[in-house]
Symmetry: C2
Subunit: 160 residues, 2 copies
DNA sequence: TACAGTTGTTTGCGTACTCAATAGTACACG
DNA sequence: CGTGTACTATTGAGTACGCAAACAACTGTA
């Protein structure tokens, strides 16, 4: 038992996991702070706008958005609350299924995203390239991409 | 501007960052759930016990613990609240500096940690090795280790 | 048509943090 | 000695999430 504790430090999987954790926390803090200060968006605000901007017609079911952002539906409700209040996203309902409401990117939302994107991408690049060379960046992208994520799947319906 | 949005998907640094994010979230959820269900510990509870177990005499200043866990002092106060209530950690004061109180691992805490450790390490291994080969695990450990973390530094003083 | 089960969304509550403000202690310097 | 500055720990307020429950609307079955 106690052996596990001393082994743990040298167990490769544990090392990898620990460093993943620390890398995530430190980079997230830095990027989050810059995005918030520069554009008043949280990381999830930004990701939501980005995902919507890539969706057909800038519109996505809330459930789909939840999957993309790895949030629960309730998390999405609250996230979009803020974006709706800010006028960056609006609601659109679905003709054929009254249960669903779409999150629809507004023009203001798209502008906000475009304004934030260049800064944010620059921040990411700066942060990573400050410590890693290009090969290393490619390598972690490729390797981490093999870890499980969240499936997507969407049948759209005509908005009303 | 809009160019940034279409470029973003193919920018290596952004890809790496996005995947780091997703890898963190998905692995954390899985590991956190197992640890909580199996031993009633949160990830930070576990990490706190682990850091303490490695510290000299199983004792660490709260400030140092905060640095190790990348939490604020207030976060540590509340984290240790729970561990103290559970009898896994206790307070010890410092003879020479009355401002500091140590977090001191108890015997129960060490037992709890040892019990949890083997399961937790097994979970980490299983999760990573299910998707990655050993070389990849070593690679991300090494590369992510180059990203900035938090400095440590401790001058102990005799406990009272 | 009626009823049961499923799905999308919202809401109340709890949790785990952060930040800002506070109190107590340490220590250097006049 | 006081006094100012730095540091430790705690507390109150606020934030961002998840979970579970509630509700509405859809779907399948008969």
């Amino acid at each position: 038992m106690a052996q596990v504790l001393t082994e743990q430090a040298t167990e490769p999987a544990v090392r990898a996991w620990t460093r993943l954790l620390r890398a995530y926390v430190s980079t997230t803090r830095s990027l989050s702070a810059e995005l918030l200060e520069g554009h008043g968006l949280t990381l999830n605000d930004y990701e939501a706008l980005l995902v919507l901007s890539r969706a057909e017609e800038g519109r996505l079911k809330r459930v789909e958005l939840a999957r993309s952002l790895m949030l629960t539906p309730s998390g999405i409700t609250r996230l979009l609350e803020g974006l709706e209040d800010a006028g960056l996203v609006e609601r659109a309902s679905c003709k054929t299924d009254l249960r669903v409401t779409y999150a629809q990117l507004t023009d203001a939302g798209r502008e906000k995203l475009e304004a934030a994107a260049s800064d944010h991408v620059a921040s990411i690049r700066a942060l990573l390239e400050q410590h890693l060379v290009h090969d290393e960046i490619d390598a972690i992208a490729e390797i981490l991409g093999k870890l499980p994520a969240v499936a997507e799947g969407d049948e759209s319906c005509s908005p009303g």
